[in-house]
């Protein structure tokens, strides 16, 4: 038999933000490792496209469920209609660069609601309704921002990611005894639409902070997430895994 502790065969994995740059890549990587995938996103067309990009697996059909996770009813419908899961990738998020003096309550509330409240409430619902099997793994897409460094104009996003970091560690503490692990990946800049608000000049300058002299590709993050979902990381919980090309070293 082939030795592969990174295999996800027989596991079912729910991915939020499943149509986005990182989320859709997590789906592809995990399906290649044998997992059955449940993608959810607010964007219907992109969701179907992400679904069709998954590799077929023996354990069942992949699913795609459109849901606005900031809406309590839609969140509950999602939790009630998905199969029991072994992995939960809490990945949906938004970013907007705003200097502190231009922060509005409306933007603050909107970004917090998507990046912090929805992940907390969805995790709570999955745990309360016992939808995550024993031996399961929860992985948040946090960020190097907030947790490991801050940068100008990124206060709201960084604040929400600090919140995710604290929540991740708390869930790890509470659910470790129940056999459920909880970790995060903490990327720096990733080549996705999310960094669209940076100018080319800003990106060029920012890249000088990366010893590996490039930004992450979605697969760099997806492979880290796949490791945290797999049995290869069975003794890893409460960890914020930097995947930042060395950016936070200096």
């Amino acid at each position: 038999m082939e030795y592969n502790p990174y295999s996800l065969e027989g596991k079912t994995i729910l991915i939020t933000g499943g149509a986005g740059g990182i989320g859709s890549e997590v789906g592809r990587v995990c399906s290649k490792l044998g997992a059955r995938i449940v993608l959810t996103d607010i964007r219907e067309d992109a969701l179907q496209s992400a679904l069709s990009s998954l590799v077929k697996v023996d354990s069942g059909e992949h699913l795609a469920v459109k849901a606005d996770l900031t809406n309590a009813d839609e969140l509950n419908v999602l939790v009630d209609q998905i199969p029991e899961i072994d992995g939960f990738v809490c990945n949906a998020g938004v970013m907007k660069l705003v200097l502190t003096q231009f922060i509005t309550e409306e933007e603050l509330t909107r970004i917090q609601s998507i990046n912090l409240n929805a992940p907390i409430l969805l995790t709570k619902a999955l745990l309360k309704k016992k939808r995550i099997r024993k031996g399961g793994s929860v992985v948040f897409t946090a960020s190097a921002a907030g947790v490991y460094r801050v940068s100008m104009g990124n206060a709201i996003y960084a604040t929400t990611k600090c919140g995710i970091d604290a929540f991740m560690r708390t869930v790890a503490l509470e659910y470790g005894p129940k056999g459920i692990r909880c970790n995060s990946v903490n990327p720096g800049m990733v080549e996705t639409a999310l960094i669209g608000s940076f100018t080319e000049e800003q990106k060029e300058k920012e890249m000088q902070n990366y010893p590996l002299r490039r930004f992450a590709r979605p697969e760099d993050i997806a492979q880290g997430i796949a490791f945290l979902l797999s049995d290869a990381s069975s003794f890893v919980t409460g960890t914020a895994l930097k995947i930042d090309g060395g950016m936070t070293l200096s």
Binding site: K130, K134, E174, P177, K178
Partner: protein
């Protein structure tokens, strides 16, 4: 407030202990799975389901599930 329904909510706080193992006369402190975090879950369940605040002292004072049910009932 109904004892059977209370037992159902009480049992939901456990993962390894089946509802059939929990009766009105069960001394819940003796259940293998009972822990401080499950005790806290029960306190929070009572608040969520019945809008009643109980504390660690009440948990300590109650020996059986029915004892706890009675404490909750007196606070209703």
């Amino acid at each position: 407030m109904n004892l059977n329904e209370f037992i159902q909510h009480f049992a939901e706080q456990f993962d390894e202990t089946s509802v059939s193992e929990i009766t009105p006369s069960t001394n819940f402190h003796d259940l293998d799975e009972y822990s401080s975090i499950i005790g806290l879950s029960i306190i929070l369940m009572v608040d969520e389901e019945y809008g009643i605040t109980i504390g660690a002292d009440d948990m300590k004072q109650a020996q059986t599930v029915e004892d706890l049910f009675n404490i909750v009932k007196t606070k209703a």
